[in-house]
Symmetry: C2
Subunit: 457 residues, 2 copies
Amino acid sequence: MQEVIEYLEKNKEKHIEELKKFLHIPSVSTDSSHKEDVTKAAEFVSNYLTEAGFQTVELQKTKGHPLVYAEWMDAGEDKPTVLFYGHYDVQPPDPLDQWKSDPFQAEIRDERIYARGASDDKGQVFMHLVVLKAFLQTTGSLPINVKVCIEGEEEIGSANLYDILHQQQEKFSADFAVISDSGMVAKDQPTILYGLKGFTGLEFTLKGPDNDLHSGLYGGAIKNPAMAMAQLLATMKDEQEVVQVAHFYDQVEPLTSEERQLIKEAPSEDYRESTGAIETVSEKGYTAKEHTMARPTLEINGLYSGYQGEGTKTIIPSTATAKLTCRLVPGQDPVQIQEFLVKHIEKHLPQGVELTIKREPLSAKAYKVDPNHQLITKAAESFAETFDKEAVYVRMGGSIPVVEWIDAIYNIPVVLLGFGTPDDRLHSPNESFPMAHFEKGMKTIVHYWEAVKNTKL
Amino acid sequence: MQEVIEYLEKNKEKHIEELKKFLHIPSVSTDSSHKEDVTKAAEFVSNYLTEAGFQTVELQKTKGHPLVYAEWMDAGEDKPTVLFYGHYDVQPPDPLDQWKSDPFQAEIRDERIYARGASDDKGQVFMHLVVLKAFLQTTGSLPINVKVCIEGEEEIGSANLYDILHQQQEKFSADFAVISDSGMVAKDQPTILYGLKGFTGLEFTLKGPDNDLHSGLYGGAIKNPAMAMAQLLATMKDEQEVVQVAHFYDQVEPLTSEERQLIKEAPSEDYRESTGAIETVSEKGYTAKEHTMARPTLEINGLYSGYQGEGTKTIIPSTATAKLTCRLVPGQDPVQIQEFLVKHIEKHLPQGVELTIKREPLSAKAYKVDPNHQLITKAAESFAETFDKEAVYVRMGGSIPVVEWIDAIYNIPVVLLGFGTPDDRLHSPNESFPMAHFEKGMKTIVHYWEAVKNTKL
């Protein structure tokens, strides 16, 4: 292991130059004018893996952007096989005028590297590529068998990944998976993310009259769809933030006292300070931290009806629309929850309006790994070794669909080795990543592969 | 009177040509590129009144478009004085491509004249101008004393009229007012409009976090302003359409059984058929017709929060905004009602959001004239005489601010002699006015001036 660490130190400058080249490719997957750039980024990854010494490197065509698959399977049959997942595509850089430096001309200042993708996810993917190369270049082998899956469509919903994972099940099968596409709760604070929420949603429209009406001539005879919408939405949550949809909580795995303790100990931001809200709220019987990390939520993401311009327009709107999503916890089935929402809306539909429901086709179950699983405790040890600080354990309210897919298709543990920080400004102007986390992060990965090589799974 | 009627019949073609000239002037008051055209229309009116034989004709300058004032006061001191109000400005013709003929090249087809302003209000103003001229040209005098006030800013909120009516109170003072800027419930169905609703409103915003937030990372800790808005709005009306704002109904003049009978007898559209709503609603204890015509209403005119694009965006919106207006009935004070709304919103404000209220500065009291007032019964008689059909009595949910201003400043009855029809398409493409209503309408006005000349007020 020592020679790998030395190799990383010796080639530090060279790796930064390579990373910059990777970040210079504007692989914006949502923008068709960048289609060639997206492919270039895929080629960067596949070339890197070939040069590193991987036996099999494929640039798989999809209906959208290519997927890089690679494998090195010579660690031996007694060694575990990991499936490493990441993505090389990035969010659009807009609004461009808010960037202090070119989003595709990585710039290092104040010990951070600024570029679109620096943290999400090119930077973190690159750390793994370098470590794999370092092992192969110095020791001629890897501590474990490695399968690599780096897609180019994460920022546009991973449209083709589920099918690929499903259809090439044997090829991608592994003993566990590792993903580095998340973050720590603070810089230099190793964080074990052992749970993610699931997700479901729908949008619905209430239609009153065919067109907006004169509120004087018709007000009183025609149900106002905006009022109908307000009345209906108000039935979905009480004032103590408890969801009122029947059966919503039925399958929720109760929080154990051990979990509540972990959540209590987990550092977290001051929600009021970081959001600017005048006060925090939370579900009756739970702290705000428990609610965000480990209890299901229902949120209105969008709501619109009638006139939105300046001043007054005295109309009865023709329609009102609401977009809802839920974040789910282990035990809840997203398709079932969606159905409970539909039933609730139908049951509480006010008189005088017509209902149309559009079910969100994407959904995900919540993911949780046992925080005492050896793959997790070894990750915590590797972090502690390299960051010189004990890891904290957190669950998160966000959803990463690929985690649930891997869980659903392969039924293997997924380890989320996140190296980002809360200041990385993912999806926003001036995305960045701390230079120190590159170094410590790569060392952590080296330690981790060594630590898990004798794990029996 | 007979010679006046004969004059009208003899000069019919000439009057239509004159009307067309009036309609050809694109006096769009909201469009500054039409400023000169608006003045041209004012000059058309003042020239017409001068040629008719009016003693005093003024083109009064305002901060906006000019106002035409004229008077003929030789009917004698024992005769009543009427203030006739109308407006010569028109709505923009957009969308132009939906017009079957040029909006400013009046075209007669199917016994209707098509042009912007044909009904609202140039056509109806012109009928009065012709009748006044007909009297003066044939009999050399008018049956009553007449003051004329034709403004050019009605379609942009009559910004300067209130001040003019207030400042030149003596000049504009009269025994009663007549306005022809409304319509009948059906073609050839004389209609006495004896009540209008008042109006007040406000808009308010609930702010949660400073920016839209990731619903996974913050959902559960931060109050969703869209949900707060729904919960708050739902407290304002119950499911039987009864407004729940404290004191909202306190000052409402109860409907008499005579009024309920009048409303029952008044013809009305089939609300379901004309609006496309699946069913009608109405305030508990009142029919939909009673509610629209004579009971106060509260409507949400606009509602918006968060994401409105296609698909899903998993955010907690930063803010939610609602625009509300009320239509008021006699007894209710609009400023007081606005204050009741503010108090209700403040009282029911959910935890975790900040409130900003923007009070709508415009307001109007409801207007109602006694349907048995002799000025009203004489109008009904004049209608019956010329349309050969008994007039029906209606109250309307709309508001005409000038009616309330005349009532408030001069405390005189306002007679609404409306000749429009429900098919006139005011403010829309292909505005028109039935040719038959010109003839019968002008005869009605002749009859009316004769009928009221000996009224003691």
